[in-house]
């Protein structure tokens, strides 16, 4: 196989193995929560595929490492060993270690490191505890020798699976000089009883020449479930692993390392995932093919209008054709966007492990509930929503949920519940992180905010407004976490990250009952529905989702207030006015309130009146980045190209509100 071809298969193998590791991890966690024995089989199968694949695709270190874990699992599977917390913990760390190995494999670095070595010894030691005889242990630990005795007895059905013993023995010949002695004891007594499709022979193979155990077992990787195999060292060169007595010392230094290592590996994996591929279900592709088919038909129908006169009858057909074309284009667009949509489960799935680790560390009992894992999100959003969610979940366990004592004192059950829920709501995706913990401490937050000079007093502030304070940058200090039970570690970063995705974060919290963090995200980032607004000679796109309604006001409806601001009455509230021509410095714009249009918009939970000359029409805007060649512009979320080829900027309401606030402050 050529190197390029191998690399291509390696990539597929790595992707599949990472999925396998995810399965292993989630199954282990389920097992930890008292899952059934079938899970052990699932874990074993995943480990086995990784081992086999690793050997085939040129990762012998990974293969032999996984082999240790697989042996352990095999004992559990066959009932020789009861699964307990220690084994699950060990296997979880094995999963982390393998992830790190795959990350290194992708980066082209050496696979083994000290963590892997230490863990490998631990696995071997765990095996040693329950191993039937000391002799096996001694032999196991021999990694390299000058001579080996290999006893290979295929089961009768091995040939049926396409494995040829002769090929295996030839391959073994590549490792050194062979002396092969066949064993005939299983041959049937009469020729009539001989089934030609079955394998009745066994072999004892003496291998002379320096070889590693991994190399030898690698030869038999594909058949090891279909034969009795023993590999014994005859002439030992080195004692690779420490004797079992010394092995238990290894776990201590290794224990801390895998966590950090896994984090790094995950970060690296995510970094490379940004440019990686998307798996698309065949249904979606079939749907696309159908649509393209219809598009072609419509196109050929329209093509007939190239020739001949167009009379009234044909005009009707033409109009119908154009309408069809518009519909197909729109459907095609939606379907293509659909390809980018992936279930949020891939983000949710990292949390069971994290919740388990954090809650154990903090001595809290947490039950994690996942709702709506199949909700689909744009891939870009999906990749970037993970970190803010990790933050929220960590905060919820750290600050929200109480220890069992405190929960009992508050009259709640020992175990706190943390719920992650995703759902579609209108044109948005809503992701909720809720807990039934202590909730936000209003007084403590107000106290902190006053101390930091964010507010003068909490008098008359709504609970919502108080909760909103924790998103202030000033709240993200270590002192907050120790001084009060409220949250606030980097919440401003969470809000900013979500805002980068065009979404918002809000809190609902009841003291003593718990909190709900709600992240609202747009379905996709690539296309938005917007209204085109005219300001002087210029055109801006106002996203439809942020528009509440538009009103024509009389000149005296807007009042100037001290400090240069303007207010107008909308229903029962007074809203500040942002004149777009002032904010963006447009020339020749309408200035009289009664000549233009007041568009009531909402951004970041704040309502304002956006004053423009007028609205021209609705259109879908393909969002283009300003940053690719220029830079971010405050109050502008991007640009789009209008039907005439010119560029129009897309207004970012939340940014505009912040811009206005800053100008007022300045």
């Amino acid at each position: 196989m050529s190197k390029a071809a191998l690399a291509q298969f390696q990539q597929v193998f790595i992707e599949e193995s990472l999925e396998g590791l995810d399965t292993m991890e989630s199954s282990l966690l389920e097992l930890d929560n008292g899952g059934d024995a079938e899970l052990v089989h699932t874990i074993f199968r995943a480990a086995h595929s990784i081992k086999g694949g690793a050997a085939t695709f040129g990762f012998p270190e990974m293969s032999s490492f996984t082999h240790e874990a697989e042996s352990l699992l095999d004992e559990v599977r066959s009932g020789k060993r009861a699964i307990d917390g220690a084994i699950i913990e060990l296997l979880l760390r094995t999963v982390d270690c393998l992830r790190a190995m795959f990350a290194r494999a992708q980066a082209g670095e050496p696979l083994n490191d000290t963590v892997a070595e230490a863990l490998r010894n631990e696995l071997a030691a765990a095996m040693g505890r329950g191993a039937p005889a000391g002799a096996v242990q001694a032999r196991r630990n021999v990694d390299q020798a000058d001579a080996w005795t290999i006893r290979f007895r295929p089961y009768a059905g091995m040939l049926a699976s396409g494995n040829d013993p002769l090929r295996l023995i030839r391959e073994l010949g590549g490792l050194g000089e062979l002396t092969v002695t066949p064993e005939f004891d299983r041959l049937p007594a009469t020729l009539a009883a001989l089934e030609p499709g079955e394998c009745h022979l066994g072999w004892t193979i003496e291998l002379k020449g320096p070889a590693r155990r991994a190399d030898i077992s690698g030869v038999f990787d594909w058949v090891e479930d279909e034969c009795d195999l023993s590999i014994d060292a005859r002439h030992v060169v080195t004692e690779a692993a420490p004797p079992p007595a010394a092995a238990p010392a290894a776990p201590a230094p290794a224990a801390a390392a895998p966590v950090a290592d896994a984090g790094a590996a995950r970060a690296q994996r995510e970094a490379s995932a940004e440019s990686s591929s998307v798996r698309v279900s065949i249904d979606k592709i079939d749907g696309l093919i159908n649509l393209v088919g219809e598009l072609v038909i419509t196109q050929s129908m329209l093509d007939t209008f190239r020739e001949g006169e167009i009379d009234a009858a044909r005009l009707a057909v033409l109009e119908q054709g154009l309408a069809q074309l518009a519909r197909h284009t729109r459907e095609l667009q939606e379907s293509v966007m659909g390809i980018r949509m992936l279930p949020i489960a891939s983000v949710f799935n990292r949390f069971p492990r994290m919740v388990r680790d954090i809650s154990q560390k903090l001595g809290k009992q947490v039950k994690l509930e996942l709702v709506g894992e199949q909700t689909e999100l744009d891939k870009t959003v999906l990749e970037k929503i993970g970190d803010p969610m990790v933050h929220l979940v960590r905060n919820a366990i750290d600050h929200g949920l109480e220890t069992p004592d405190k929960r009992r004192a508050a009259g709640k059950g020992d175990t706190g519940t943390l719920t992650l829920a995703a759902s579609h709501r209108g044109g948005s995706i809503v992701v909720e992180v809720s807990d039934d913990g202590a909730g936000l401490n209003r007084d403590a937050i107000i106290g902190k905010a006053v101390q930091r000079g964010l507010i003068s007093s909490g008098e008359g502030m709504s609970d919502e407004a108080v909760a909103d304070l924790i998103f202030q940058p000033g709240f993200s200090t270590a002192a907050v976490t120790t001084d009060l039970s409220g949250r606030g570690v980097g919440m401003d970063v969470v809000r900013r990250n979500v805002a980068d995705l065009g979404g918002t974060v809000t809190i609902r919290s009841t003291q003593g009952k718990g909190s709900v963090f709600t992240i609202t995200l747009p379905l996709t980032l690539a296309i938005i529905d917007g209204l085109t607004a005219a300001v002087g000679e210029e055109r801006y796109i106002v996203p439809l989702v942020s528009i509440v309604e538009s009103v024509q006001l009389k000149g005296d409806a807007v009042r100037s207030v001290a400090g240069g601001g303007e207010l107008f009455r909308f229903r029962n509230e007074y809203l500040p006015v942002i004149r777009l021509h002032d904010a963006f410095g447009c020339q020749d714009a309408v200035r009289g309130i009664d000549e233009g249009l007041m568009v009531v918009v909402e951004g970041d939970g704040t309502r304002v009146g956006l004053f423009v000359d007028g609205l021209i029409g609705q259109q879908q805007a393909v969002v283009k980045s300003l940053e690719a060649n220029y830079r971010r512009v405050q109050g502008v979320s991007g640009a789009t190209i209008l039907a005439d080829g010119s560029v129009a900027l897309i207004v970012d309401i939340a940014g505009l509100v912040r811009l206005q606030a800053r100008r007022k402050a300045a």
């Binding site: 283009k624 060649n629 991007g638």
Partner: protein, 168 residues
């Protein structure tokens, strides 16, 4: 044309453009295309010399007026006014100049350092100067046209740009 045959292999080509009766050279490898002047979409909070953005086959590209960039008085755009699209470090931007005139082969020997003298252009943005026949050509350092000084200026113009929402 350079008559120095020894360094022919090292010769580089420059696109010469006119700006306020002086001739400037832009490294031709940085030039992506030359387009006639078309109106651009103004962007808010931009330095005065950034005219706006244009649609370059689907990409949004900022456009700079070279006269304003170098503090020369603005002149009405005419039939010869062109936008030269330049690519530096993977980023595209357009510069508006009075006209394009020629492509010049320049050998490294023929590039002389810029004396600190009263040219209209800040010598900081010049790589050197060369002459062709009677004419003197100032060679622009395109890498410096938008950065780092410009980047800093842009940052200064927008002190708190970090919390601006962006949609990719």
């Amino acid at each position: 044309m350079s008559d120095n045959s020894r360094s022919e292999a090292l010769q580089s080509q420059y696109l010469t453009v006119n700006l306020a009766h002086e001739e400037y050279g832009i490294d031709i490898l940085a030039v992506r295309e030359i387009r006639g002047w078309t109106p651009v979409t103004r962007i808010p909070q931009a330095p005065h010399y950034v005219l706006g953005v244009l649609n370059l086959r689907g990409a949004i590209v900022p456009v700079i007026d070279m006269r304003l960039r170098f503090g020369i008085e603005r002149e009405a755009y005419g039939a010869t006014t062109v936008t030269v699209i330049i690519t530096v470090a993977g980023r595209n931007f357009g510069v508006v100049v009075d006209a394009v005139s020629d492509v010049l082969d320049v050998s490294p020997d023929a590039i002389r350092p810029v004396p600190d003298m009263g040219t209209t252009v800040d010598t900081e943005y010049l790589k050197g100067l060369t002459s062709t026949g009677e004419r003197m050509v100032l060679l622009l350092d395109v890498d410096k046209l938008l950065q780092p000084q410009d980047a800093q200026m842009l940052e200064a113009a927008l002190p708190a740009a970090s919390d601006v929402k962006a949609v990719a």
